[in-house]
């Protein structure tokens, strides 16, 4: 009975927290400078990318060191469509999503043969190959120089400047992505993913088509990250092979771990980490900023091995129980009656 009480109160706290955050997110761009708005937009873009990785590695247990490559695929899809074919920026998201989904499925099929460090290598090949391939097929991709894009013009009717318009565009996509992810992961598919991650043999024995779900997880994951890449191309207005190195893939992994690998909210924390900690590190030490960044990673992992949101979720029930002890008797009785 007290379990029912804590579940509904956790859920209502979460709902309240979510609403507060969304309101905050909508108000912020009007309180901050354009540059900060741009930074927050980047945070959200990386959050979508990390969310994709969470689906694959966190919920389905397939490690990927190559998501930077899929991010690049999405970015270049959008860039080429805009640059070569004059497609309006907002219309590039769907094709990028589809293409990256297909890429992910294509990748996921052979990936079925591999596990653990072997899968890591195969995905690593993707991350390493992508910049090389992008440079090689120069006629399409603009080679080393990349592609410069015209930044989008915000619709006049809405009356926002470009940075803020793009901020809200990305915010909408992020919220949509989180909603889709939540529906997917809290439903049958999500349970299948987790079952496969934790006990693949038992899952197969219970009739779950492991191959299909694992491939689906791959495709879904790369879809999310690819869309994030397309948004990056639109918002930054420039793509080049050097922006999509192995380091980007590793950054996604780090963001995932810092936020909480098997969480949805953790992706946002991860986005913040990837964008802001290097900047902070620069301020602390301009001689060796990456050392500070690395140190930050270590500290986060020592203190919160399951990531920020992962640790919060684990603590959640005990915090709710602690909060309950301050409730007066009458309301406790009321909830007992309810259950």
């Amino acid at each position: 009975m007290s379990g029912g009480q804590s579940k509904s109160s956790t859920a209502s706290w979460q709902w309240l927290g979510g609403v507060v955050l969304i309101v905050l997110a909508m108000a912020l761009p009007f309180a901050l400078s354009s540059y900060h708005v741009f930074e927050l937009t980047q945070v959200m873009i990386y959050a979508i990318a990390v969310l994709g990785l969470n689906i694959l590695t966190g919920y389905n247990g397939q490690i990927s060191l190559g998501h930077g490559g899929f991010f690049a695929a999405g970015a270049y899809t959008a860039a080429i469509l805009m640059h070569r074919y004059g497609v309006p920026y907002w219309a590039t998201l769907a094709p990028a999503a589809l293409i990256c989904f297909a890429l992910g499925v294509l990748f996921g099929l052979p990936a079925l043969r591999f596990e653990g460090p072997y899968l890591a290598l195969v995905t690593l090949a993707m991350a390493v190959a992508m910049p090389q391939l992008l440079k090689y097929f120069g006629t399409w991709t603009g080679g080393n120089q990349g592609i410069v894009l015209t930044k989008p013009v915000p619709p006049a009717a809405i009356g926002l400047d470009r940075d803020r318009w793009l901020y809200f565009l990305v915010l909408i996509v992020l919220l949509l992505a989180m909603r889709v992810a939540a529906n997917l992961l809290n439903g049958r598919t999500g349970r299948a993913f987790v079952a496969i991650r934790d006990h693949p043999i038992a899952a197969a024995a219970m009739g779950i088509n492991t191959a299909r779900y694992k491939t689906l997880a791959f495709g879904t994951s790369t879809l999310f990250t690819g869309v994030a890449g397309a948004l990056a191309a639109i918002v930054i207005g420039f793509v080049a092979p050097e922006s999509f190195t192995l380091f980007l893939s590793l950054s996604f992994l780090v963001g995932s771990a810092v936020g909480g690998i098997a969480t949805i909210g953790g992706a946002i924390v991860g986005g913040f980490f990837i964008v802001f900690v290097p900047n902070l590190a620069n301020e602390i030490s301009d001689a060796a900023p990456w050392a500070i960044y690395g140190l930050a990673m270590l500290l986060f992992m020592y203190v919160m091995p399951r990531g920020v949101i992962g640790t919060a979720e684990a603590l959640g029930p005990s915090l709710t129980r602690a909060a309950q002890r301050f409730r007066t008797a009458p309301s406790a009785n009321k909830s007992e009656w309810k259950t």
Partner: protein, 289 residues
């Protein structure tokens, strides 16, 4: 034909270096179930230590030996201080720690020694042998690697500590029941791996020139070689490393120019893995229901 043999031989020399680093990776993986992404940067840092000693006037081989000891101790310290806290954490957490370590070493090296390319002395005279089939440098690298491998083989096969380390890696609980301090064995494993990495770094520095990014390509090839051989097999690591070296060289010479060399080499190796998903000599990850 002559060119082919030449390329094979210099591929073997490069492969010897990949093999060494691959062996270090396998050693750590067997002990802690973890791929140490920082292995390359640790090796690079060790090479800088050797460089500092040589510049301070130490004879080459003296600096070599001192660096090996320092790296051994450093590797043990890293295991105890940096890795110990996350030994029982989820794998990804430990991976992120090694990535952080990678960044720290890289940045430290850049800060202390700057990012300028440095020359690193080669202990081997630069002469050509057997009618331009191979260079003394290549022979030297292969010989040093073979000596190191022989020493390691002897240590692990015939000494009590080597046996204890193998036992601790295979079955930590049983090892504890035999009175073996598993934690100490892990630290030793990291020490050995660091020392092996130092050898690899010192051997490759004369060719690649010393800078903080020297080992990142080497690590990638070493990782590939370790997996090709089977991440649980030391013999596999060596053979895998050599194969990767030869493949890389042959692909670069005969197949495709430098831009796609890495991609093609990786694809070829992944093709092999498709047929042998646990590497050439690896054991399958046994799943207990």
């Amino acid at each position: 034909m002559h060119q082919l043999l030449q390329q094979i031989f210099s591929g073997l020399a490069a492969g010897a270096i990949y093999a060494s680093l691959a062996l270090a990776l396998v050693m750590i993986y067997r002990a802690t179930d973890l791929v140490n992404f920082a292995q390359g940067e640790m090796a690079m840092f060790s090479t800088y230590i050797a460089w500092t000693l040589v510049n301070a006037g130490f004879p080459f081989w003296g600096a070599f030996v001192i660096t090996l000891f320092a790296s051994f101790v450093g590797g043990m310290a890293i295991e105890r201080i940096v890795i110990r806290p996350v030994e029982n954490a989820p794998i990804l957490t430990a991976v992120v720690v090694t990535i952080g370590l990678l960044l720290i070493f890289n940045a430290l090296a850049g800060w202390i020694y700057s990012y300028t390319l440095q020359e690193f002395p080669s202990p081997f005279p630069d002469r050509i042998l057997f009618g331009a089939l191979m260079t003394t440098r290549d022979v030297g690298v292969i010989v040093v690697t073979l000596v190191m491998l022989a020493a390691l083989f002897f240590f692990f096969r015939f000494t009590p500590t080597g046996l204890a380390m193998r036992a601790a890696a295979q079955n930590p609980e049983s090892a504890q029941l035999c009175g073996i301090h598993v934690g100490r064995m892990l630290a030793l494993g990291w020490g050995f791996a660091a020392a092996i990495g130092a050898v690899a770094g010192i051997m490759v520095a004369p060719v690649l020139f010393l800078d903080p990014h020297m080992m990142s390509g080497v690590l990638l090839y070493a990782f590939t070689g370790a997996l090709l051989g089977g991440i649980t097999s030391p013999v596999g690591a060596v053979i895998g490393g050599l194969l990767v070296g030869v493949t890389e060289n042959l692909v670069g010479t005969y197949l495709i120019a430098s831009q796609l060399k890495l991609t093609v080499a990786l694809l070829l190796i992944i093709l092999v893995l498709v047929f042998r998903p646990n590497g050439l000599f690896g054991t399958a990850i046994v799943r207990r229901v």
